[in-house]
């Protein structure tokens, strides 16, 4: 009995390692999963333990089917099935591994190819740091947010203070400026995995600023984190008073450390770096401060500056997508994600012939402002080689372009290496071969 108990523990540890992204993609062998349960004894009456939902190790379920034994850990904090192996990965961008030799993280991409619905689980939410950083381990009892500068009364809010104030809960995506697709990427995790969408809960920044009393001369604010580099970004005060959110909750629990625990600024629709993690301070100022993160944004042309700030309308098909395999011709629901920094997604179109004919896709549920929207399009694949691609339009009428359209707008010659200025929101084609393999349509 005891040895079997140990086996089961080791097994659980093993699956935890897989979930943590330390082990290979392959789940533990099925044989190892069933061995602790012994020979089925169909005629055995349920024991008291089983009745209580806590079968003793080695005891089969009455039907003899494999089971997951209740353990203290699993009861306290759940785990996905060991058959589910979807994982984040270090993003190839910049060539920095995560973790690196010092335990720092750089860019980590979400497995969009496996995504369903619009919420990215917190464990799979993408995250990034500017130059590679340790994730700070912040004790919420010692953490606070100070708002000062051009206000009547500077105020410091503890985490307890913030949770006393009226809260809002909103779905919002975040996307990294480095989320650019090119012909070298194999799958949608590499091409688009630096975006995710979660349900965020917290206090509107406008609520806190009104509490401090905004001075008339205020035009910008600087948001600053508590991590070692104290990363800071400048944003317009109009954004602060519109929809910025000081979030302590993410998908129904506390924000994860990689995503800013215990406090993160959400600047919905702005490039990811503005969503200041480990938020400790907001300073209200009367000009653009160009502190730290802002300097990296400095560009020469107003067009590039504007296009690298608020995210444009963007969509991608997540299934079928690169690296997947269609088993044969017949029915498939083409499904994917669409989002925009300009508001809610109004419509999504899908083409199954490389962009010649566009068909209206169905948006699942009601699209939210600055949130991923899930779309679907019913498709009968005839078994011939083709290209599938999606494009979206947001509530203010911005349309997701092809790279050729962007080049034409800026009146520059188009070639395969054309770089979309600012954040790349161009369409992403996937090529379906006759054998059902799906590959990058830009390759």
């Amino acid at each position: 009995m005891d040895s079997k108990r140990t086996n089961r523990r080791e097994l659980l540890k093993g699956s935890a390692a897989v979930a943590g992204g330390l082990a290979a993609l392959v789940p533990a062998p099925a044989a190892a999963q069933t061995s602790p349960f012994g020979t089925p004894l169909h005629d055995q009456m349920p024991s008291h333990d089983q009745m209580a939902g806590m079968a003793a190790p080695g005891t089969p379920t009455p039907s003899g089917t494999p089971m997951i034994k209740g353990t203290k850990d699993l009861i306290e904090y759940g785990q996905r099935s060991h058959f589910v192996t979807s994982m984040r990965m270090p993003h190839p961008m910049g060539g920095r591994p995560s973790p690196d030799a010092f335990g720092k993280t750089f860019h980590v991409a979400a497995p969009l190819q496996d995504s369903v619905g619009v919420i990215t689980p917190s464990s799979l939410h993408y995250f990034a740091t500017t130059r590679g950083a340790y994730v700070p381990d912040i004790d919420p009892r010692t953490h606070s947010l100070t708002i000062h500068g051009l206000v009547d009364r500077p105020l410091t809010f503890t985490m307890e203070d913030l949770k006393r104030l009226p809260s809002v809960t909103r779905l919002h995506f975040i996307e990294c400026a480095g989320n650019r697709h090119n012909g070298r990427q194999k799958n949608v995790q590499e091409s688009h995995g630096m975006t995710s969408c979660a349900e965020w809960t917290g206090v509107l920044l406008s609520t806190l600023i009104k509490e401090c009393g905004l001075k008339g001369s205020a035009t910008w604010f600087v948001a600053e984190g508590a991590e070692e580099v104290k990363g800071a970004s400048s944003m317009p005060i109009a954004k602060a008073m519109d929809d910025c959110l000081i979030a302590y909750g993410m998908n129904g629990e506390a924000v994860r450390p990689q995503n800013g625990y215990p406090l993160r600024l959400m600047a919905p629709g702005y490039e990811g770096i503005f969503h200041t993690k480990w938020l400790r301070r907001i300073k209200i100022v009367d000009r653009y401060y160009m502190n730290y993160n802002d300097y990296g944004h400095m560009t020469r042309t107003p067009e590039e500056a504007a296009l690298g700030f608020q995210i444009g309308p963007k969509s991608v098909i997540t299934s079928p997508s690169g690296g997947q395999q269609l088993p044969g011709k017949g029915f498939y629901e083409i499904t994917g994600l669409a989002w925009s920094g300009g508001g809610a997604i109004r419509s999504v179109e899908v083409s199954t012939d490389g962009g010649k004919k566009w068909n209206k896709a169905q948006i699942k549920g009601t699209p939210q402002r600055m949130a991923h929207a899930r779309f679907g399009y019913p498709w009968h694949w005839d078994g011939n080689e083709t290209e599938i691609v999606s494009r979206c339009t947001d509530e203010i009428g911005q349309v997701q372009p092809t790279r050729e359209q962007v080049a034409k707008y800026f009146n520059v010659p188009f070639d395969r290496n054309y770089r979309v200025p600012g954040l790349d929101n161009s369409v992403m084609p996937w090529r379906i071969a006759r054998d059902g393999t799906v590959t990058n349509g830009l390759a």
């Binding site: 509490e211 100022v285 020469r300 067009e303 500056a305």
Partner: protein
Amino acid sequence: MASLRLAAIALLLAGPALAQSYGVGHTPTPDELRALDISIGPTGDELPPGHGSAKEGAALFQSKGCVGCHGKAGVGGLAPELQSSKGHDLPLWERGRGKSGWSILPLTAPYATIVWDYIHRGMPLGHEGTLTADEVYSLTAYLLFLNGVIPEDQVLDKDSLPKVKMPIGNDYARLPEWKHGTPRLAGYPY
């Protein structure tokens, strides 16, 4: 009647303020604010007392380990270059672009205060926040001197640093005015 009207006006005036006041949060002390406020704006109002010149900065660039990542005199390291090795006849945006594609901060920053803020906030790697004000003034002076922005003997302090004329001048883009529900670039359909 008049007093009633006055009372009503007083209520109207006080109403919104009262409605917004949850009485949550506390007032930070001036000392707490000073310690927290590391954001240095273009006017340099937040700069602390202290001073330094390129000569002291050159020694610190060695002793603080900057040279290990940025290379000798800010060239040839793994971290972003801090001195342009390109000819002075080239336009600034070309001269200011390092080999890795990163901008050379002490050459292209529109304000010298940005250099001070960056070093003070984010350097040295792994020992952020340990430099004294004098050390940050000195390192800032050294990097500006390396790029020909200031002479070697110029002393930088709270008053002189914000007055340094950076070579980029006005030749960089400002962000467009942001309003709820506006496209990211006027006239751009995408």
